[in-house]
C-alpha cells in the first residue's frame, strides 16, 4: 500500500525522522487509506462510506462489531484506521475500541449522535484517537489520516526506543528485529512497525543494536567540561559545534552535545522562569494526551514530546529522539511528560534512549532528553552536574528518586545517550510544549508532549508526564534504565516539578527487578505509574488519571509525604491506577510511593525528602500540569529550592542507582497533566 510505503519512510528517518517521515509518505497519501467503518445504522453507514470514498479512502463497511473484529483479525494489516459508532446493539462501541486497541493497535475513531461530555470522555479514556459527533461531515473525515501517521510515528519510536534502550526490558534489538522481520508478533506495535517499514526499522534497530553505538554518558566531569565550554562561549552563543571543539573530547559527537545542550538550556530556563514552560507544557501536554492508550510506546513518544516541548528541540530531533527514546512507548503513551525539565532530559536520555546510540535519530536515548525538555530546567548547572552523577548511579536504580534537583541534572546528563535528546534538553526553552507536539508526530504521543511541556512550565509535573502515560505505555519507558536519570530528575527537580522525582520513581520501579515485575503487571504501567504518580501530583490532573481531574496540589503534596514506601512495582501500578480514579490525591500518593519505592535502595530519609519535594513540586506541577493552568513560576522555583536541599540526598540516591536516568524521560511526560489522557 502506498501508505505503508510512504509511511515506512517515517521509520527510516533516523534523524529528524519522525517529523519528516510524514512528509515522505507516498504522494498519494492519504488516498488509499484503508478504513473500516462500523455502524449499525445503515443510513449513516452508507453516507459515511460515500464520504470516505470521496476522500479517496478505501472503505469497508460493517454493521456489526463482531464482524468488524473478525475482519480485523483475519487481515491483521488490512486496515489503517477504524471508525466505529458508540451505540451498537451487539457490542458496545467502547468495548470494540478496547479490543482493537489491544489486539491490533489501530487508531480508532468513535462516533455518536451523543455529544455529552461523559461519553466523549469515555472515548478518550478508552483510547479513542478521536471522537466525531453525528451527523458527521465530510470535512471531519478528510483529516483522519493524521491519526494513522501519528500512531505509526509513535510506534516507530517506541519500537526503536524499546528496542534500543532497554536491553532487559524489551527484547534486545536484535531480537526485536527478528521479531519484526518475522512478523511473528501480533503485537500491535510490531505490526505497526511491520506495516510501516519493517526493513527500515530493522535496519535502524540493527544499527543501534548491533553497532552498539556507544552512548554518551554525561558524567559529572564531562558535564562540567560542557558547562565550562558553554560559559566560555556564552550561553547565547553556545552552539554544539563550538562546544564540541572546546570540550575536545574524543568520541563525542556534535549530536551528543547538541542534545545535551538542549537539555541544559531547558534546565536553565527552568531555573530562570517557569511560567513559559508552563504554558508550553500545557500545550504539549494536551497534545500528548493523544497518545494511544494502549501503546506501550507511549513512553517514548512522551519523551520526545517533552523534549519537543521544551521548545528547543527541533521537530526533527524530537522525532529522532522520540524514535530512539520513545521506544519506551512514551510516544504512545498519551501521557505527556511534563517533566521534560532538564532533569528529565538527562534522565531520559539515559534510560530510555538507546544509549550510546549517539544517533540522534533514533532517539532511543532521546527519551531521557525528553524528560528534560518538559521540565523546566530550574536546576542550576551544578545541579545538573549533580544530576549527572545521580543519574548515573540511578541508572541501576531507577528508584533513585530524584534526590536532588542538582542531582538529577547529572543524571540527566548521563542520559545523554540520546543525543537527540540533548537537543531537547538544551532547549530549555519553555516552548517545549509546542515542540513536543511536532515531534511527536502530532501529538499522538500525549505522553511525550505533555512531558515536555510540563518541564517547561517548570512544572515538576512535566517529569511526571511519563507517569501519565497509560501504564502500558510507560512500561516501555520504564523498563528502560529507570535507574537512570529519572531519578535524577526527581531529585533535582528543582525544575519545579517533581518530575525529577517522578522520574526516579518510575525509574525505581523499573529497576531491574522491579521493572520486570512491573512490566509484567502492566506492561509498562508499573514504571509509569510511578512516574505518573510522581507526576501525577503534578500532572495528575492531566492525565491519565483523571483526565481532567483537577489536580490538587495540596492534596498531592500531602500524599507524597505520606507515601514513602510503596513497593515500586506495586505501588506504581496501583498508585497509578488509583490516582487515576481518585484523581489527584492518589496521584500524589502514588507518586510519592513511586518515588519511594524507587528509592528503596536509597536511604529512606532521602526519599522522604524527595517525597516532600515532590509534594511541593507536585502541587506546583499540578498547577502547571493542567493544560490550561499556568503554573506559577514562582511556585516552581520554590520547589526547586527545596529540591536543592535534597540534592545531596538525591545525589546519594542517584549514585546508588545507576541508570535510573531514563526514568526521567518518562517523567517528563508525566509532568503534563493531561486532561484527556486516556487512561
Amino acid at each position: 500500500m502506498n501508505l505503508s510505503n510512504g509511511k515506512g519512510s517515517m521509520s527510516t528517518a533516523s534523524s529528524s525522522a519522525a517529523m519528516k517521515s510524514g512528509d515522505i509518505v507516498s504522494d498519494q497519501f492519504p488516498a488509499g487509506l484503508r478504513v473500516l467503518v462500523v455502524d449499525d445504522d445503515p443510513t449513516c453507514l452508507m453516507i459515511l462510506e460515500k464520504m470516505l470514498r470521496t476522500c479517496l479512502y478505501q472503505v469497508t463497511k460493517c454493521t456489526r462489531a463482531e464482524n468488524a473484529l473478525s475482519l480485523l483479525r483475519e487481515n491483521k494489516n488490512g486496515f489503517d484506521i477504524v471508525i466505529s459508532d458508540v451505540h451498537m446493539p451487539d457490542m458496545d462501541g467502547f468495548k470494540l475500541l478496547e479490543h482493537i486497541g489491544l489486539e491490533m493497535d489501530l487508531p480508532v475513531i468513535m462516533m455518536s449522535a451523543d455529544d455529552g461530555k461523559n461519553v466523549v470522555m469515555k472515548g478518550v479514556t478508552h483510547g479513542a484517537c478521536d471522537y466525531l459527533i453525528k451527523p458527521v461531515r465530510i470535512e471531519a473525515l478528510k483529516n483522519i489520516w493524521q491519526h494513522v501517521i501519528r500512531r505509526r510515528k509513535n510506534e516507530l519510536k517506541d519500537l526503536e526506543q524499546s528496542g534500543s534502550a532497554e536491553e532487559g526490558d524489551r527484547q534486545q534489538k536484535p531480537t526485536d528485529e527478528a521479531d519484526y522481520s518475522s512478523s511473528a508478533n501480533e503485537g500491535n506495535w510490531r505490526n505497526a512497525k511491520k506495516r510501516r517499514d519493517e526493513e527500515d526499522e530493522a535496519e535502524d534497530r540493527d544499527d543501534t543494536s548491533t553497532l552498539k553505538k556507544p552512548r554518551v554518558v554525561w558524567s559529572v566531569e564531562l558535564h562540567q567540561q560542557f558547562v565550562a565550554a558553554v560559559n566560555q562561549l556564552g550561553i547565547d552563543k553556545a552552539v554544539p559545534k563550538k562546544i564540541l571543539e572546546l570540550m575536545n573530547v574524543p568520541g563525542l559527537t556534535r549530536e551528543n552535545v547538541a542534545s545535551h545542550l538542549q537539555k541544559y538550556r531547558l534546565y536553565l530556563r527552568r531555573l530562570s522562569g517557569v511560567s513559559q514552560h508552563q504554558s508550553n507544557l500545557n500545550n504539549s501536554f494536551i497534545s500528548s494526551q493523544e497518545a494511544t492508550f494502549g501503546a506501550i510506546s507511549s513512553l517514548n513518544g512522551i519523551d520526545l514530546q517533552t523534549l519537543a516541548a521544551t521548545g528547543q528541540l527541533p521537530a526533527q530531533s524530537l522525532a529522532t529522539l522520540q524514535a530512539a527514546g520513545l521506544g519506551r512507548s512514551t510516544a504512545k503513551a498519551s501521557i505527556p511528560m511534563p517533566l521534560v525539565d532538564q532533569r528529565n532530559i538527562f534522565s531520559f536520555e539515559n534510560p530510555r534512549l538507546r544509549f550510546g546510540e549517539g544517533q540522534q535519530q533514533h532517539v532511543s536515548g532521546s527519551k531521557p532528553m525528553n524528560l528534560l525538555h518538559g521540565i523546566p530546567t530550574n536546576m542550576e548547572p551544578k545541579q545538573l552536574a549533580n544530576l549527572h552523577q545521580s543519574t548515573q548511579s540511578l541508572g541501576g536504580l531507577n528508584m533513585r528518586v530524584n534526590a536532588s534537583p542538582a542531582q538529577s541534572n547529572p543524571l540527566l546528563m548521563q542520559m545523554s545517550q540520546s543525543q537527540p535528546r540533548g537537543h531537547m534538553l538544551s532547549e530549555n526553552t519553555i516552548s517545549h510544549v509546542p515542540r513536543l507536539p511536532t515531534s511527536m508526530g502530532q501529538s499522538t504521543v500525549p505522553n511525550g508532549t505533555s512531558n515536555g511541556i510540563m518541564g517547561r512550565n517548570g512544572i515538576p509535573d512535566s517529569n511526571r508526564g511519563a507517569a501519565y502515560n497509560p501504564v502500558p505505555q510507560t512500561s516501555s519507558m520504564l523498563n528502560f534504565p529507570m535507574n537512570q536519570t529519572t531519578e535524577m530528575s526527581a531529585g533535582s527537580f528543582p525544575l519545579g516539578s517533581t518530575p525529577g522525582m517522578s522520574n526516579i520513581t518510575s525509574k525505581g520501579t523499573y529497576q531491574d527487578g522491579v521493572a520486570s515485575g512491573i512490566k509484567g503487571s502492566s506492561g509498562f504501567a508499573p514504571s509509569y505509574d510511578i512516574f505518573n504518580e510522581l507526576h501525577q501530583q503534578k500532572t495528575h490532573d492531566w492525565d491519565i488519571q483523571n483526565l481532567g481531574l483537577p489536580y490538587d496540589a495540596s492534596q498531592h503534596a500531602n500524599a507524597l509525604q505520606g507515601n514513602v514506601d510503596v513497593s515500586p512495582s506495586v505501588l506504581v501500578h496501583q498508585g497509578f491506577s488509583s490516582t487515576r480514579q481518585t484523581g489527584q490525591n492518589r496521584d500524589a500518593t502514588s507518586i510519592g510511593k513511586a518515588m519511594f519505592s524507587l528509592g528503596e535502595g536509597m536511604e529512606p530519609g532521602n526519599f522522604q525528602n524527595i517525597g516532600q519535594h515532590l509534594n511541593t513540586l507536585l502541587p506546583d506541577n499540578s498547577v502547571r500540569v493542567k493544560t490550561e493552568r499556568i503554573p506559577d513560576a514562582s511556585s516552581q522555583t520554590n520547589l526547586f529550592s527545596e529540591q536543592y536541599g535534597q540534592e545531596d540526598l538525591m545525589s546519594a540516591l542517584l549514585k546508588q542507582q545507576e541508570g535510573i536516568g531514563p526514568a526521567e524521560n518518562e517523567f517528563d511526560f508525566d509532568g503534563y497533566s493531561m486532561d484527556n489522557i486516556p487512561v
Binding site: T43, H87, D114, P135, R137, I138
Partner: protein, 151 residues
Amino acid sequence: MDRNQSRRQIAAMKQSLFDQGYLDEQFIQLEELQDDANPNFVEEIVTLYYRDSSRLISNIEQAIREKNPLDFNKLDNIMHQFKGSSSSIGAKKVKAESTLFREYCRAGNGEGCIKSFQQLKKEHALLRKKLEAYFQMARQAGPLETACGPK
C-alpha cells in the same frame, strides 16, 4: 415543460424545505456527495433512511403498546438510533422531535413521550411526502439542478 422552469421550481421547493425547517445543512452535505458515479445518491439515502426509521418507529410503537409501565430506557435507546439516522440526512424537525421524546424518556414522563411520539410520526410522514415530491420533480427535470443548497 421548460427545463429552466422546472429547475427553478425544484430549487424553490428545496429552498422552502430549508426555510420551513424541514431540512438542515446536512442535507446539503449529502447533495454534495452526489456525483456522476452516484447520480441518485441523495434519493437512495433517503429511501434507505425511511426504510430503517420506519422499522424503528414500529419498534417504539410496539414497546409503547405492550409494556406498561413504559420501558423508558429501551425507548430512549431506540430513539437515540432514530435520532442519529434522522440527523444524518438532515431531517431537522424530525430530529428535534426525537430529542424531545428522549427528554421525556429521561424524565420518565410517559404522557409526554406518547404525545411527542405522535408528533414525531407526523413530522416523519410529512417530510417523506415532501421529499418524495421533490425527488420526483428532480428526476423529471434532470440531474443538473441538484447540489445547490439554500442560498
